[in-house]
């Protein structure tokens, strides 16, 4: 059985994920409203309850890649004085 479920869901704020959710299953958010969710019953219910859309890992990675590329393009367009080590260029993210 796969370790993770991949999906997209919009973070609606308070109550979107609870401390109990965090104890019940792995949950990690990524650009593009992509969420990596522990593959158990409660994780699956969580994505469904949040009106999430399940994705394959490849689909989820493609969404993240597109968002990172978008951010990198925006960073590349910044004036040079803003490209400081405190404002580094967004880096590639590989989903677990």
């Amino acid at each position: 059985m796969a370790l993770f479920i991949y999906g997209t869901a919009t973070n609606t704020g308070k109550g979107f994920f609870t401390a109990e959710d965090r104890r019940n299953f792995h949950l990690r958010g990524f650009p593009g409203d992509v969420w990596v969710i522990g593959n158990n019953e409660k994780g699956a219910y969580w994505l469904a309850e949040k009106n999430g859309v399940e994705k394959t890992k490849a689909e989820a990675q493609a969404i993240v890649d597109a968002k990172v590329a978008e951010a990198q393009a925006a960073w590349d367009a910044l004036p040079e004085e803003q490209k400081t080590d405190m404002n580094p260029r967004p880096t590639q993210i590989t989903l677990p």
Partner: protein
């Protein structure tokens, strides 16, 4: 399995009330509440908070989890790379706009105090470092005397509006300069032992700590301040800068938090707490971020905004961390409302809060088959529409307003559908076997096995027609059933067996067996999370087992042992219901199952005697 006594050399104390001063890791049983309780170690967790009104990074925060203040930062559309003036206030539930600062800024961070009494100094306004300083009274900002050294990228401030410290930062490179605020002016004081910017900070003007940050490179080191001198503190596990922390009145030198930050390559979600000596790993945030705002304490913190590393490059999300006492609530069976008519070999479907009991035998050993139907609302049973004729030993599937019965003795191929008020004839099954397993919905049902003789036959129902499915590996009747038409589960049954099989819509495959072989049991839940309860060994059983998709484990037993009962078999495994059955006589008892859970309560909520 080894018990707590074997593992720890101690017995769990049996107490009538929670102890007054539990130590971290202490475990006890509260006989009054029936809970196994533990004083938390590593039981903190992050949850989502309300989203900020404006996504931003290079911002600063202070205050508490329920009274936080976020200020400034970098917003899109500001030019040239100017910082924001606007502030936002958090009450633990929502963000509202606060007063606008006089000077827009980002990369500030000499930010100290509370939501209603704060001071901010330093920062960057797009063209130059700032020495300006402003104070906040909960509604408006007032200019105050400036720092002696203009700087940016500090993120290192602590104390209160009346007694703050501004530490390090960038002039052209990172600096070690430190200034103290006495509510009227900034004064240069003892410098840091080493330059740094963008670290974390916590505490007061006379008992504070800064940790991590950028020299560059990024560092793990920390320095503690006593109002006069800086001394080395415990090193962070990882070199980081731009962390969110326990800024505000609750963060201290001996209880500081470091949440997220950047490792030099990308933002991270990892988080740590400091106890005055060393840092320990706590649960990671859900989202990696750096240079956002942080506030609160090591037991009740909040992090907001920041740069998550991808697009959008600025975040408006909030996460709250809470640490406290863990309560393990074991699985329980509780009594529900009694059936009006005690009966066995009845049929059931639905869920814990809306189920249906139909037919059955009211007075064994004499046959007294009934056609009465009862509906449950989570508290009590009321009469429903009677069946067209009396029947028993079939099985049900679906929900209270869209259910079905099939497999009753002498009319085993008959299907009857219920919409919550009326019974209508459904499709006729192909196989004439009674006492089958059944699961699924009214329009996607599944029945399998049955008698006589015991069979492996399976049929699938689409709401009108039954078609043959894959054969069970073990012929049986009176089995437990759970799941769906395409992910079904069969377990136990007669001849007495504990065999479990999983159906994938085409074929059955064997899985882990019940620990207690039995027939006349019930089931509910999913193929990956099922409940089995009661049944005959022969005799009657109260045994309960839970299935995780691979194996069965023993759970809390029912109050009343019985067999030939029914269940709301569409219920999830952790919220099931059983009713009726045979003890030594027909039973009218209902029991409701609640699965085990773990709850985390703020330590301050611990009730002591």
């Amino acid at each position: 399995m080894a018990g707590y006594n074997e593992l720890r050399g101690l017995r769990v104390k049996y107490l009538s009330a929670d102890p007054a001063n539990p130590e971290d890791g202490q475990v006890w049983y509260n006989s009054t509440t029936g809970n196994l309780r533990a004083q938390g170690i590593g039981v903190g967790a992050w949850s989502s908070g309300a989203n900020m009104g404006t996504a931003r990074y290079n911002m600063t925060g202070t205050g508490t989890q329920t009274a936080a203040l976020g200020a400034g930062g970098y917003l899109p559309g500001l030019s040239p790379f100017a910082g924001a003036k606007n502030t936002e206030e958090y009450d633990g539930s929502s963000w509202t706009n606060g007063g606008n600062m006089n000077q827009g800024k980002h990369e500030a961070g000499c930010f100290a105090g509370s939501q209603t009494s704060a001071i901010i100094a330093s920062g960057y306004a797009g063209t130059s470092n700032l020495s300006s300083s402003e104070s906040y009274n909960g509604s408006s900002w007032t200019n105050t005397p400036s720092l002696n050294v203009a700087r940016r990228a500090t993120y290192q401030g602590m104390g209160s509006k009346a007694a703050a410290v501004c530490i390090g930062g960038t002039v052209s490179t990172a600096v070690s300069n430190v200034e103290e605020w006495n509510d009227s002016s900034w004064t240069s004081v003892t410098a840091l032992p080493a330059v740094r910017r963008a670290g974390g900070s916590s505490g007061t003007q006379t008992a504070g700590i800064i940790f991590g940050g950028d020299i560059p490179p990024k560092t793990t080191t920390s320095f503690e301040y006593d109002g006069t001198a800086w001394t080395a503190g415990g090193a962070l596990p990882t070199a980081l800068s731009g962390m969110q922390g326990t800024n505000g009145p609750q963060g201290t030198q001996t209880a500081a938090g470091s949440f997220g930050g950047s490792n030099g390559t990308s933002p991270v979600a990892s988080s740590f707490n400091y106890n005055g000596t060393s840092w320990s790993v706590i649960q990671s945030m859900t989202e990696a971020r750096q240079v956002g705002g942080g506030a609160g304490s090591t037991t009740a913190a909040v992090v907001f905004g920041g740069a998550p590393g991808g697009s959008p490059a600025r975040s408006n999300s909030t996460e709250e961390y809470n640490f406290g006492t863990t309560t393990y609530n074991p699985a329980t069976w509780a009594s529900g409302g009694n059936l009006s008519t005690a009966r066995l070999q009845l049929m059931g479907f639905g869920i814990q809060t809306s189920s249906v009991a139909a037919g059955g035998n009211a007075s064994p050993p004499d046959p007294n088959v009934v056609n009465s139907v009862e509906e449950y609302n989570g508290a009590s049973w009321t009469s429903g529409t009677a069946l067209p004729s009396a029947r028993q030993t079939g099985n049900g599937f679906g929900i209270q307003t869209a259910g079905a019965l099939v497999g009753a003795i002498t009319i085993a191929t008959t299907t009857e559908e219920y919409d919550g008020s009326t019974w209508t004839a459904g499709g006729t099954a192909n196989d004439n076997f009674y006492k089958p397993g059944a699961t699924g919905t009214q329009t996607a049902g599944l029945k399998f096995g049955g008698a006589t003789p015991v069979t492996t036959q399976t049929e699938e129902y689409d709401g009108s027609t039954w078609t043959e499915g894959g054969l069970l590996n073990t012929a049986r009747e009176q089995m437990g059933s759970a799941g769906t038409q395409t992910a079904g589960l069969a377990f136990g049954g007669s001849p007495y067996t504990g065999a479990t099989e999983e159906y994938n819509g085409t074929a059955w495959t064997s899985s882990g067996s019940l620990n207690t072989s039995r027939a006349g049991l019930i089931g509910s839940g999913l193929q990956t999370a099922a409940l089995a309860a009661a049944g005959g060994l022969p005799g009657v059983s109260s045994a309960t087992e839970l299935y995780d998709g691979t194996a069965w484990s023993t759970s809390t037993s029912m109050a009343t042992a019985r067999r030939l009962l029914a269940s709301g078999n569409t219920s999830p495994s952790d919220a099931s219901i059983v009713f009726g059955g045979l003890t030594t006589v027909s039973s009218n008892a209902t029991e409701e199952f609640t699965g085990s859970s773990v709850s985390n309560n703020p330590a301050s909520n611990l009730t002591v005697s």
